[in-house]
Symmetry: C2
Subunit: 412 residues, 2 copies
């Protein structure tokens, strides 16, 4: 501590709130203390002067997502995660943020939280900065205590969540009791959501993920855990109207944020249908795994599908693959078309596949194949002749589509 003044924070601190008041007294400005996920830990009360951002932070017990996003974009948070020095933040009227100084609280190389000092009356000088650094140092210990207490809680969460995912708690009452003990209020409906990463998720990744999840408000995350390269969440939309849309939106923002902030690419998201019965969590989890499994097998055709209910016929592919594996079946139409393709090196099979994939739309298919619509028509006529396919019969077409896709996978 290379400073001329004695450390005014070297006193016993009872609660973190008292400590916030203490800093506030010393620096003569409103103080807010957050954890690393921008959850409110404590705030000074002696002072009534404040700004809208602080008010909503205190009311919501967390920094509004809008504000966090802005602070990321504008560079404040990235800076705080790099340096141990206090940082000036200029006022941003559009999000109700006035001038302030922030400092991060460090333990070794990890940020435990932040202290915010509002520059309502006066701007802080260098001496104040030194005081703030001392305050941060003292806050560290208090935060560490909270951390360990939280870690234990986390562990209990984890255990509970895995029991739910694997269907080890079947009784409805028991599930609800657990939720209560954990002080989680289960939403009326939920979905299981999995993000599959390219590589196994490291501790560092976990921190980043946790950070994003904790700062998300659009969606309620009741439980989450990590399994190798999968991040597994139990979520529910905050608004009842269209939960799937909310989840989808969250997935998009989650992916873009991990991408922008941490440069993590190629995450495969997958989520189950919406359920209201918490006994079906394990089923929902299986659904998401099914989605991921299919997405691995048919990456192109399921590129835009993340949701089990939107898998459509692909829901049944695992089953069908299994069946086809155990028999020597071959679709006669496909066989004939393939033989023709071979002999005349044409591409009737490909044409047929795209045509069926494009929902029998001539124009779309022709565009995809880069041929004239009339060419496509001619080919379809030939396909009907050679493959003995009746394009008016949905039963035949569906089986053809399925066999086509199954063969495609088996062929790989």
């Amino acid at each position: 501590m290379n400073t001329r003044l004695p450390d005014p924070f070297k006193t016993a601190i009872d609660s973190l709130d008292d400590f916030a008041d203490l800093i506030s007294q010393v620096l003569k400005c409103p103080i807010t203390i957050e954890d690393s996920n921008h959850r409110l830990l404590a705030y000074s009360t002696h002072d009534e002067r404040t700004d809208p951002a602080r008010i909503s932070t205190i009311i919501g017990r967390r920094v509004p997502e809008k504000v966090i996003n802005q602070l990321w974009k504008e560079g404040t948070i990235p800076a705080l995660l790099k340096t141990k020095e206090p940082i000036h933040v200029k006022s941003m009227d559009d999000i109700g943020l006035s001038h302030r100084v922030a400092i991060s609280i460090w333990k070794d190389e990890e940020v435990l939280g932040f202290i915010w000092a509002l520059e309502i009356d006066k701007l802080l000088n260098e001496e104040d900065f030194n005081l703030l650094k001392k305050a941060a140092n003292t806050a560290k210990n208090k935060l560490l205590q909270l951390q360990t207490r939280k870690n234990k809680k986390e562990e209990r969460f984890q255990e509970f969540f895995w029991k739910l995912l694997t269907g080890h708690i079947e009784d409805r009452e028991e599930i609800m009791e657990h939720f209560q003990t954990m002080q989680i209020t289960p939403a009326s409906s939920f979905a299981v959501l999995v993000f599959q990463f390219q590589k196994n998720i490291t501790d560092k990744d976990e921190q980043n993920i946790s950070y994003i999840l904790k700062t998300t408000q659009r969606i309620q995350i009741m439980l989450y855990t990590i399994d190798c390269n999968q991040l597994i969440l139990l979520v529910s939309g905050t608004n009842m109207e269209n939960p799937l849309n909310e989840i989808n939106h969250f997935v998009q923002t989650f992916m873009s944020k991990t991408m922008e902030r941490y440069g993590v690419m190629d995450i495969s998201p997958a989520y189950s249908g919406i359920y209201d019965n918490y006994q079906k969590i394990s089923k929902a989890y299986k659904e998401t795994l099914a989605v991921l499994s299919i997405k691995e097998k048919f990456p192109l055709e399921t590129k835009t599908i993340h949701n089990y209910t939107k898998l459509g016929i692909y829901q049944l592919f695992d089953l069908l693959l299994e069946k086809r594996k155990n028999e020597t079946y071959e679709n006669p139409s496909l066989k004939m078309l393939e033989e023709y393709d071979q002999k005349h090196n044409s591409n009737l099979v490909e044409t047929l596949e795209i045509f069926l994939t494009k929902d029998n739309n001539i124009n779309d298919t022709a565009k995809e194949l880069n041929v004239h619509a009339n060419t496509l028509n001619y080919r379809l006529k030939r396909i009907a002749e050679i493959g003995e396919v009746d394009f008016k019969d949905p039963n035949q077409k569906m089986l053809l589509y399925l066999d086509l896709k199954l063969k495609k996978y088996q062929g790989i």
Copy 2:
């Protein structure tokens, strides 16, 4: 034998051909002897005068199908199956048949065969008729011998066929050897064909069936057997070009003949795909059973389908039913639509089903539902909204179609 003349046929007969010559000598006209299925057993050679129908009978070793059909329609054969008296048949130029007399050969209440006498030079008188009756009586014993010999052969056929159907002979060589021993020349490709009757097939039915099968020439019937209410055939088209068409045609004629001649109704036909590997007979048999099973479950939608390859997606229904039975899955779109239907007693689900069944054709669906095309459009828009169905996505539509049909069956 209430006749004035001594019986000229009470001599030892060596072969049936000699017997035919003997009758020919006595009656002074060409004689042909057939079994009950109009297969040629013997014919007189002393005489060169004959008609085209007899020539083709001798050459093909059976009466041409065309002629048999005509004799049925015109009433000759039905009459022969009723009376033991000789019957005059007037000439039918269009099928090359000149004047003749026919008599059936009886054993108790069963017809073993027929004797035909051509009236080339002279018309037979009453005395000739009496001689013919005596000849028929004598022929009986000879035919009985043939019968028993044939029955033993039949039994071996049966055993072999069942081994093939149940997959008990797997070795290719062995199968071919058996065919040779049975003096059957296996066609290059085959199909298994099953007719399922309403009731168990009686001995009487069996005779009728056998009669129809033996007199069929459009298709080669290599083996056949009867199992409770099923007639099982191993067939192949005589012409290579389009075997399925030939089988289909045979099925039609078989059913109309059993209907017209014996009044047997409501036969469900089913046949496998065309195979060229005789080791796959048991698979082909399973296919036909699958067709019958599906036809029982979905009689309306599979009314016109008899062929496994034409089952399309229905091929997979057994499997899917099994899967759905073991889980609590419910298609969310369907569920929502059903709920809406219930509440507003509308019929969106029915509309959707017919629309999908009619291959997404607005006009056909509207006609089927007896509504205006715009009404249908409006409903589809509502279905898309309420059921969150994307009509541009074939995957979703297919699953919807499947779940619709599966539910329909489960609901019954």
